[in-house]
């Protein structure tokens, strides 16, 4: 089953997604996409690591080229998060843009039993954007729509509460 979880900053989307994956039997794999390039990133990564302690996730760090990642066959994979992965693919020299992201998801999904993807709602804060930021928003919007179209379920998380946009929760 393919699940897309979307929410604003600090909306509780990660915890919700983790708990959703916990309901699934079998091996759990967490794909971390944030590249630790400064102290703030490290602090955030540490917060998320603590949040996952005891939940039985094997953590794999992957900043780009999702399609080249090997995961244990039949695992329940949580990918966090799409907004980081897309930025890495768009703005690094080795990056392949949104096409690489969507192809990577497609390949990853063929190997795992369940794939849960966390993405960000960053599109309701006004229209005062231009250049790279506007391009990033347009690309992330397109990726989110493509993933939502493929997904079996799509859940928007608002202050920790699920708003089901497609499919149903267990």
């Amino acid at each position: 089953m393919l699940t897309l979880v979307i929410g604003g900053a600090a909306s509780g989307k990660s915890e919700f997604a983790e708990n959703l994956v916990l309901t699934l039997p079998g091996q759990r794999v967490y794909i971390a996409t944030m590249e630790p390039y400064d102290g703030e990133c490290l602090t955030r990564i540490e917060k998320h690591r603590r949040q996952r302690v005891g939940k039985g996730f094997l953590t794999l760090e992957r900043y780009r080229d999702l399609g080249g990642l090997e995961v244990p066959a039949g695992a329940n994979v949580l990918l966090e998060c799409m907004s980081n992965l897309l930025a890495n693919e768009l703005y690094s020299h080795q990056g392949g843009g949104s096409a690489a992201v969507l192809k990577g998801v497609e390949r990853l999904y063929t190997r795992c039993a369940n794939l849960t993807i966390v993405t960000n709602e960053v599109f309701s804060g006004g229209k005062d954007y231009e250049g790279d930021t506007l391009h990033y928003l347009r690309e992330l919007g397109a990726v989110n729509r493509a993933l939502a179209a493929q997904a079996d379920r799509v859940v928007e998380v608002v202050c920790g509460c699920p708003n089901v946009l497609k499919g149903r929760l267990p």
């Binding site: 599109f123 309701s124 006004g126 229209k127 005062d128 928003l137 992330l140 919007g141 179209a149 946009l165």
Partner: protein, 112 residues
């Protein structure tokens, strides 16, 4: 009038086209897009909402969920945009929010 609201790049237009089986040209003939951009320049929002309600479909972006902007002009833009959306939703028979291309009916009867 059917009012469609949602985040930028959430696929509002595409959703309507698909739901109604219309080309962009056909939809454009009966719809007003990006109406939040009209609000700042309009003295009377009620008049603007009344005029827009003549269309079959009115589409607006949600723009009010960020931090209060530093610039007065931007603050006015989002304030007016939000108020206009409220007025349009009041007048609408149906209000649909589109997120990630997926519709949710906030008001009225509409089969998604």
């Amino acid at each position: 009038m059917i009012f469609v609201i949602g985040p930028m790049f959430s696929g509002k237009r595409e959703y309507l086209q698909k739901a109604l089986n219309l080309t962009l040209e056909e939809l454009s003939a009966q719809a007003a897009f990006d109406v939040e951009t009209l609000a700042a320049g309009e003295e009377n929002l009620e008049d603007l909402a009344a005029r827009l309600s003549q269309y079959d479909f009115v589409i607006a972006n949600e723009v009010g969920c960020g931090v209060v902007p530093m610039e007065a002009e931007q603050r006015r833009f989002r304030e007016r945009a939000g108020r206009l959306s409220c007025l349009l939703a009041q007048r609408a028979d149906t209000v649909i929010r589109v997120c990630c291309g997926l519709p949710q009916v906030l008001k009225g009867d509409w089969k998604c």
